[in-house]
């Protein structure tokens, strides 16, 4: 086995142990638990509220745009964090680059806003 593959041995062993642990605990619980199912016990747990309707209910398409905009700023934050951690070392150059980056993303929001996407009909 080459050194390159050997370095992944840790991952393989870790994955194996993790899998065995989960299977072991769940299997043991399965073996030991008393089981007296009733209808109330079998329904999905919804924070104490009785669930209603079908699990495959359709959600509003307009949530999609909000999700998309959320992802945009979520990813933006992913890039801002490492920059913020080293902002002193990156200096003015880094600041300008980050401003350019944020402005480009803000343009996307401006576009969405002018297109009326943010209006909740």
């Amino acid at each position: 086995m080459s050194g390159f593959l050997r370095s992944y041995l840790t991952v393989v062993i870790f994955a194996g142990v993790a899998g065995a642990l989960v299977a072991g605990i769940l299997g043991l619980s399965r073996l030991l638990q008393p089981r007296h199912p009733t209808r109330e016990k079998l329904i999905n747990y919804e924070s104490g509220v009785d669930p209603y309707g079908d699990g495959w209910s359709q959600s509003q398409i307009r949530y999609y745009v909000f999700a998309l905009l959320f992802v945009m700023f979520d990813v933006e934050a992913v890039f801002i964090f490492p920059w913020a951690a080293r902002v002193d070392a990156l200096g003015t150059f880094g600041l300008i680059e980050m401003v350019v980056f944020v402005v480009i993303l803000a343009l996307g929001l401006v576009y969405a806003w002018r297109k009326g996407v943010l209006r909740w009909v």
């Binding site: 080459s2 390159f4 840790t10 080293r86 880094g94 480009i104 343009l107 576009y111 002018r114 297109k115």
Partner: protein
């Protein structure tokens, strides 16, 4: 078991104070390594920045300013942007490569070695800028006709082109991936742009799913090559491969295969071509033309740069693979095009076949010297020639497709020569050029790549050369079929239906509206430009060959 685990982990963790501990320090340790900010050569990046900035400006301006812009403003803006980018690229070409054999600066790496500003990169930039200009001319009349007027199409086209340029000049596998994503994401949306046409959405979906799949392949290839060579930088990979002999190159071979699959999807090589006809057919015609030209150019640019650059050290391992892919792509593309009856699908399969010819240059495996033995120059020449041939062809398809972008059957072309003789003549020249008839760039391009392969002199090279000529002969059939359709059939321009004789002498009624198709000025300009380019450089190929020979790689 636990002991083994700990032993393995213990072997991986360096002892405190080990030499490499400082470099891998987490964010909060006080002894951070100093940052080396790259020197950004903005003037070398300008062709990319012009397209990117112009796209953002257009998007911002059009969304902030109330009121309607005059028709043609968006297209005009895009053409001007393309020309500006092209102009600056030409200026850089003079600086870095030299218009003549005078003194000039050498090709150089930019932005800390992540970009290579060399002849090849600039050549690709020129090709993609041409595609932007022609694409904008095609879209100018298409979008209002289909009631899709707006800046978005042009913005996406410019962004996509910027990604393509990045791919052409990338000197780092990560930058190639970045360019690939910028190019592709914009193209997915452009494909699905025709909202009221179900085919368009379907094509966009197919292209997106398969494209994302191929991106994953490419990324995995990058990871494996990084694992084998210790860097994603092409110069560093070249350096590593020249100084080290790999005892077992399994990881590198797998990495190369994945890179080939990922980029093969983008340029539609044969086992990975199945998306092409559906996407080409479904996408709006100007988007199809732009996609055929720019995506293929950018994908091949990355493929050629990676495989003829650093991985040329492994040429004996990848050449057989390229041989098989080229042979398959040439023949399958040509044969499947024969049975199509939809002109957009014919052009899609023909674009697959063209990808096979470009691949011949890669199979030749050389990147310097005269074009008769220089695979890189042959492929570059082919890409530039193909850009004009295919965009010109799709300009005609845009016109004939008519309102709704639906009339693409061969029947719709029947009698075009009598209704629009000039348009039919232009289309004929462009198709004849794609078939590879002399006095067109298509012929010169095919001649170059085939002579490069044959020039290598091995038995397998002769076989591939013969296969390529065979594919050219097959493809002549379906190009001539379109031409025949245009020059046969009803000269009757006004009636609602025309009688066309079918094979057995019986007559069938072809129910298409035979109204005269109006050819907008911008499309006339595009077709005339493409035909002029194709014929001029077909008769006098010298300057273009000279340009392609100077398109060399930095590493």
């Amino acid at each position: 078991m636990t002991a083994v685990l700990l032993a393995v982990i213990g072997a991986q963790v360096p002892a405190p104070g080990a030499p490499n501990a400082g470099n891998s320090g987490a964010g909060l340790t006080p002894d951070l390594a100093p940052l080396h900010l790259p020197n950004v050569e903005y003037h070398l990046l300008l062709p990319f920045l012009i397209l990117m900035g112009s796209a953002l400006l257009l998007l911002a301006a059009s969304s902030l300013i109330r009121g309607k812009f005059g028709r043609g403003l968006y297209a005009g803006w895009t053409v001007v942007t393309g020309l500006a980018s092209l102009g600056w690229t030409w200026h850089l070409w003079g600086q870095i490569v030299g218009h003549s054999t005078g003194t000039h600066a050498a090709p150089r790496a930019a932005v800390a070695g992540s970009l290579a500003i060399d002849g090849f990169g600039l050549f690709i930039t020129i090709t993609i800028c041409s595609a932007v200009i022609l694409g904008a001319l095609l879209a100018e009349s298409y979008l209002p006709r289909e009631d899709l007027e707006g800046p978005e199409f042009y913005v996406l086209m410019m962004l996509s082109a910027a990604g393509g340029i990045l791919m052409g000049e990338a000197n780092d596998l990560i930058v190639v991936f970045l360019g690939l994503e910028i190019l592709s994401l914009a193209l997915y949306v452009m494909t699905a742009y025709h909202r009221r046409r179900a085919q368009s959405g379907e094509a966009g979906m197919k292209y997106f799913v398969l494209g994302a799949f191929s991106s994953a392949f490419f990324l995995y290839g990058v990871a494996l090559v990084y694992g084998a060579c210790g860097s994603t930088n092409l110069a560093a990979i070249a350096d590593f491969l020249s100084k080290n002999v790999l005892a077992s190159n399994g990881v590198l071979l797998a990495g190369m295969a994945f890179l080939l699959v990922g980029l093969g999807f983008k340029v539609a090589l044969v086992p990975f071509h199945v998306w092409t006809p559906d996407v080409y057919q479904g996408a709006p015609s100007p988007a199809t033309g732009f996609m055929a030209a720019a995506a293929k150019t950018a994908g091949f640019a990355a493929l050629l740069r990676i495989f003829l650059g650093p991985l040329v050290a492994q040429v004996e391992s990848w050449r057989p693979l390229i041989w098989v892919l080229a042979a398959l792509t040439l023949l399958v593309g040509a044969v499947l095009a024969v049975v199509q009856t939809d002109v957009k699908r014919i052009l899609a399969y023909s674009s697959v076949s063209h990808a096979g010819y470009v691949l011949l240059g890669l199979e030749a495996g050389t990147a310097t010297g005269a074009i008769s033995s220089n695979g890189l120059a042959g492929s570059s020449f082919y890409l530039l020639a193909y850009t004009f041939m295919v965009l010109g062809a799709f300009a005609v398809v845009t016109v004939v497709g008519g309102e709704g972008d639906g009339r693409h059957g061969l029947n719709s072309y029947r009698g075009l020569a009598s209704r629009r003789p000039a348009l039919a003549l232009g289309f004929t020249i462009l198709l004849v050029s794609q078939a590879g008839i002399p006095f067109t760039t298509g012929f010169v391009a095919k001649f170059n790549v085939i002579s490069e392969v044959i020039g290598r002199g091995g038995a397998f090279d002769y076989v591939l050369g013969v296969l390529a000529m065979l594919a050219a002969a097959i493809s002549a059939y379906f190009y001539l079929r379109i031409i025949l359709a245009m020059y046969s059939g009803g000269a009757d321009g006004s009636s609602g239906a025309a009688e066309v004789s079918s094979g057995g002498g019986a007559t069938t009624l072809v129910a298409t509206t035979r109204a005269l198709v109006a050819v907008p000025t911008t499309l006339t300009v595009a077709v005339v430009g493409c035909v002029a380019f194709t014929v001029a450089f077909g008769i006098i190929p010298g300057p273009m060959i000279h340009l392609a020979e100077k398109a060399t790689l930095l590493f």
